[in-house]
Structures are given as structure tokens and as C-alpha cells.
């Protein structure tokens, strides 16, 4: 890349240069065992919790998806659960909605916070106030925020907040959640409003770790603002950008509370049903925990495949 315009960037200033100082190497075996035991004693609590509530359920989920439990009797049923869940009339709609939501949320919820953070980072005044504002919605319980959007924001009559604004601007009003076309964008807007603060703060922290000399040097080399963003800001925050993109995709693919509250689950003509909602519906309404587990495994496979492609692509860019 155009790193050549900025001498010295390769040094990675954030990383401590010194390796782990040579520890006590002459220690006896007994000492080593004791040190290890101490280390594991500190780890054990977290490891137990991970074991019970993350690692074991992961395996259990896969196992369950090939079993069926009826009246307390569990039998192996092969791919039956998968057949049943794929045959659900909402299955494909749920996937379509989930991809649509993820893409929209990525455009809105990923790019916007980054540029907001770049902007905020330049301000020498009111920065604290602006940061509080951006993060405030994150502190609201999502149910509270979504009821606000549902009852006041997306009120399809002219009394609704968004319709009033559209009307004042002489733009056509919308039926919002009542219209299958607007359901998704409306959910993404609500979701982005609620969640972007966290990303902004994390980006801001990353931006403030960029050494000022890099910008100085780039400017001396005649790089304009956009070039400085492209050649200094983005490369310097690349790791955190990549990590957050991944986390955001994993998070948005599981959107659940937005359809549940804004659209009473499925929305008009299945326009809001998400894969996560379908899991919930099968597991806890249709008394089909095994089918829900199967759908969970499908989701896992899709996300893993996606992650693999993503990692491939982002490592190729170097």
C-alpha cells in the first residue's frame, strides 16, 4: 500500500518492544508444577463457567440436532430435524430477512460510527458532551428504546414522530412496520440508533492511540485529509476495524428483539421474521427444541463459512 509515503509506520508503536524478560530458568520441577497449579487455580472459575455455559452447550447443540425427545424418551433421528426446519414455510424468508438486515446494518451501523469517531476525534470542544450523547442510547434497555420506536416513532398515522418530520419536510409519509418494504429499514434504523455508541467509543479509543507524528509526516509529504484517512487512520486502526466488523456481523445476524417488539415477531407477510426469531418460535412455542437446535447449527455453519471467507479476503488485502 502507500505506506511508503509515511516513513517509519512499520514499527508498530503500540506494541512493547521488549520480549518477556528471561524468567527464572533454573527452577526445579516442583517449583514449575506449583507455579502451574497456581496459574490454573486463577483460571478455574472462568474455565468452569465456560465449560458449563459455552463449550458444553456447543457440543450439546450439535448432538441435540440429531435427536428427538418425546415424552422424556430421546432417540437418534438422523437428519429429520433438519428436514423439518428447512420445510418450515418461514425458513427461506427468515434467511432472506437476516441477510438483508445484516447488510443494511453493516452499511449503516459500521461505516457511520467510524466516520462519527473520526469527526469527534477532531473536535477540541464539546467532545465529552458528544460522546455522552452517542453512548446514551446504548444504556437504555433495548425493550424501552424499541417501545419508543414502535409506539411513537413508527406510528403509521400522521401523529407519529417520523411521519411528522417527513410531513414537515414535505416528503411522503410511510406506513413503517405496517408496510413489508419498510419493515427492514425501520428495524435497522432503530437498531443502529441503539447500538452505535459502543462502536464509536471503541473507534475513538483506537484513533487516540495513533501517534501524531504519523499525521505530521503524512502532511509534510503532501497528503490531504482523505489520503491521511486512507493511509494513516485506516491502516493504524485496521485490526480493531476488522475485529469490530466481525463482531458486528455475528451480532446482527442474530437480531431478535427488533422483530419481537417492533413487528410482533413475524411482521406483515413474514417481512420481519429473523432466523433467531424462528429458533425462538420452534424452541419455545412449538415445543420443538431439537428443531431449534438444528436451525442453530445451520446458523453456525453459515456464519463459520462466512467468517472463513472474510478472513481469507481480509488477509489477501495485505
Amino acid at each position: 500500500m502507500a505506506i511508503t509515503t509515511v516513513p517509519g509506520t512499520r514499527r508498530e508503536p503500540g506494541r512493547p518492544a521488549s520480549p518477556y524478560p528471561a524468567g527464572p530458568q533454573r527452577t526445579s520441577l516442583g517449583r514449575k508444577v506449583r507455579d502451574n497449579l497456581t496459574g490454573h487455580a486463577f483460571l478455574i472459575g472462568a474455565v468452569i463457567c465456560f465449560g458449563f455455559f459455552s463449550w458444553y452447550p456447543m457440543i450439546r447443540g450439535v448432538v441435540m440436532s440429531f435427536q428427538r425427545t418425546r415424552r422424556g424418551v430421546t432417540t437418534w433421528v438422523g437428519w429429520d430435524n433438519y428436514d423439518r426446519i428447512i420445510g418450515d414455510p418461514s425458513f427461506w424468508a427468515a434467511w432472506k430477512n437476516t441477510f438483508y438486515f445484516t447488510v443494511l446494518a453493516l452499511v449503516l451501523g459500521y461505516a457511520v460510527p467510524f466516520f462519527v469517531a473520526i469527526l469527534l476525534n477532531e473536535f477540541r470542544h464539546a467532545q465529552g458532551y458528544l460522546r455522552i450523547l452517542v453512548y446514551l442510547p446504548v444504556m437504555l434497555p433495548p425493550a424501552s428504546a424499541l417501545f419508543l420506536f414502535k409506539f411513537y416513532g413508527y406510528d403509521p398515522s400522521d401523529a407519529g414522530l417520523f411521519n411528522s418530520i417527513l410531513k414537515a419536510l414535505h416528503l411522503p409519509t410511510s406506513q413503517w412496520m405496517q408496510s413489508p418494504e419498510m419493515t427492514m429499514p425501520a428495524m435497522v434504523i432503530a437498531s443502529t440508533w441503539m447500538n452505535m455508541g459502543g462502536a464509536v467509543l471503541i473507534y475513538l479509543a483506537a484513533l487516540q492511540n495513533i501517534p501524531g507524528e504519523l499525521y505530521e509526516a503524512a502532511e509534510l509529504d503532501g497528503a490531504g485529509i482523505w489520503r491521511r484517512i486512507r493511509n494513516v487512520t485506516i491502516p493504524q486502526t485496521r485490526l480493531i476495524l476488522a475485529l469490530l466488523a466481525m463482531l458486528q456481523i455475528v451480532a446482527t445476524m442474530q437480531f431478535f428483539i427488533e422483530p419481537l417488539i417492533l413487528a410482533n415477531g413475524t411482521g406483515a407477510e413474514d417481512s420481519a421474521t429473523s432466523v433467531a426469531y424462528l429458533i425462538y418460535q420452534h424452541g419455545f412455542f412449538q415445543n420443538d427444541l431439537n428443531g431449534a437446535a438444528a436451525l442453530g447449527v445451520i446458523m453456525l455453519v453459515v456464519l463459520a463459512g462466512f467468517s472463513a471467507v472474510y478472513v481469507r479476503l481480509s488477509s489477501k488485502q495485505d
Partner: protein, 295 residues
């Protein structure tokens, strides 16, 4: 605020102080301040005042900016009909417990992974970080089944706070944040403490933790908000009305309750977190922005 004139950012200070740069800077700042206030504070204002309006007033077009005849009754109804005191207490209790469990167990784990480095430490870290890639929704069904009948112990944790506290500890992101921060604490300090004969626990308590206040603040906020914001998990594992969290409780009542009362309840549910945030915002902001120890 934020007069840290030492650091240089995208655009140099000098450029912003002179002529055109200065005009652009102040215009942009004004636009952003007004815009952000409208976008982020506006809806909250609408929420608080909307819940003060009567059913008729909320349905009128164009909507009124101020409630004509404030109906405090909506808030009183929300408080009494939904038993918000109980719901808020439950949520506090779950959040506080989750915070305590995470601070103790996750800090200890991150310390072990960063400084003590026992055998297989990296493998364990890897397995923990791998869970970041596992969508919570994928685990929700098997986790639920696990909580109903905990393996080996065969305990049912439904309606027990442990069903929220223990899974909260399995938070790879917080462990990752803590570990990364601990990594940046110079090994010389560890070596010095060792030389003075301090035990690993003593070193953690007297050296690492005092230096880690910023990151502990961040992790605490994350831990509390995670519980506060969670919806589906508490909905599943706290099925009785007596053990519900505030979000789940409001949702459960939302069907048969007037719209303005639901919003009033939502406002009340949001007040504690907003207050906590306003009090501790400096901790989280400085924790996230000062970043390294050297700063």
C-alpha cells in the same frame, strides 16, 4: 472539555485556529452539536414528555411539542400496575451479582493468562476466544437445556440468579480486554514483586489491580449493561413473574396496557442506567481513551 492539546490528530491544531479552518471548525462543531442533540437526545425527550400526554393528545396531528396537560398519572399507573419496584430490584440484583462474579473470576483468569501463563494457557485462551465466534442464538437452546438440568450436578437453575450470573462469567470479550491491558503492564513490575516475595494473589491485588482501574471500569460497565440489556435469556430462565427483569416485565405487560403507560414504564426502566452512566461516564470514557499506561 477535552483540552488535550498535546496530541495531534488528523488535522493540525494550527490549521484549525487560522482563518478558514477556524470558520469551518466552528460551523461543523455547531452543526454536529445540534444534530447529535436532536438525534440522540430528541427521542428521549419525546419519550419522557410523550408519556405525560393523554391518549388523545398523543394521537393528534401535528404532535404537540410540550404536553398541554401533563398526566403524571401515566407514570403512577406504570409504577403500580407493573410492580416496577420489584422488577427494578430484580434487575439490579442480577446485574450486581454478574458484575461481582465477572470482576472476580474474569480478572483472575485474565491475570493468569497474561502473567502467570500456566501450561495450556494459550489453548484455553484460544478456546475462550473461539466462543466469540459462536452466535449466542446458536447456544440459546442447548444452554437452556443445560440450565434446566445442569450436567453432573443435576440442578435446575430456572428462576435462580445463578442462571444469569454464571453464564455471564463466560464472557470472552471482557477476558480479552483485561488480558490485553494486563499485557501492557511491564514485566519488570512483576519481577520486582516476585523478588520482594509477593505471592501471585498479592501481586494481583496490590500492583496489577490498582494500575488497571480504567479497564476495570470499562469491564464493569460492559458487565452491568450486558445484564441490563439482555432480554431473551432472562425471559427464558426467569419465567415466574416474581423473578422477571424490568425489560421482560414491561414486555409481558405491553399487550394489555395503554401505550402511554408502557412508555412511562420504559422511561422509568431507563432512568437507573442513565443515571449510573452519567455518574460513571468519566471512568468509561477515560478508561477507553487514555488506553495505555504510559498516557
Amino acid at each position: 472539555m477535552a483540552q488535550d492539546s498535546g496530541t495531534r490528530t488528523l488535522i493540525s491544531h494550527a490549521q484549525l485556529r487560522r482563518g478558514r479552518g477556524r470558520v469551518v471548525y466552528w460551523t461543523l462543531l455547531a452543526v454536529v452539536v445540534v444534530g447529535f442533540t436532536l438525534v440522540f437526545l430528541g427521542p428521549l425527550y419525546w419519550m419522557v414528555t410523550g408519556a405525560l400526554k393523554s391518549g388523545q393528545e398523543i394521537a393528534q396531528t401535528p404532535p404537540s411539542l410540550f404536553p398541554k396537560d401533563p398526566q403524571l398519572q401515566n407514570y403512577a399507573d406504570a409504577w403500580n400496575n407493573l410492580d416496577l419496584a420489584k422488577l427494578l430490584f430484580n434487575t439490579f440484583y442480577y446485574a450486581a451479582g454478574a458484575l461481582l462474579f465477572q470482576l472476580v473470576l474474569d480478572t483472575a483468569a485474565a491475570y493468569a493468562l497474561s502473567k502467570l501463563r500456566p501450561a495450556f494457557g494459550n489453548l484455553i485462551l484460544g478456546l475462550m476466544l473461539a466462543t466469540l465466534m459462536i452466535p449466542a442464538m446458536v447456544l440459546i437452546v442447548p444452554q437452556y437445556v443445560t440450565v434446566i438440568d445442569l450436567p453432573i450436578l443435576h440442578i435446575n437453575l430456572l428462576d435462580s440468579p445463578l442462571a444469569i450470573w454464571l453464564p455471564a462469567v463466560a464472557n470472552a470479550f471482557n477476558i480479552f480486554l483485561l488480558k490485553r491491558f494486563f499485557d501492557s503492564i511491564p514485566e519488570e513490575l512483576m519481577a520486582a514483586a516476585l523478588m520482594d516475595g509477593a505471592t501471585p494473589l498479592r501481586t494481583l491485588w496490590s500492583i496489577i489491580l490498582p494500575m488497571s482501574r480504567p479497564i476495570l471500569g470499562v469491564v464493569s460497565i460492559f458487565a452491568v449493561t450486558a445484564v441490563w440489556k439482555d432480554f431473551l435469556w432472562p425471559k427464558l430462565v426467569m419465567p415466574s413473574p416474581e423473578t422477571r427483569t424490568v425489560s421482560v416485565g414491561i414486555y409481558a405487560f405491553s399487550g394489555g396496557t395503554p401505550m402511554n403507560v408502557v412508555i412511562a414504564a420504559s422511561v422509568i426502566a431507563a432512568i437507573p442506567t442513565v443515571i449510573v452512566f452519567l455518574i460513571f461516564q468519566r471512568n468509561i470514557m477515560s478508561g477507553l481513551t487514555t488506553g495505555s499506561l504510559k498516557g
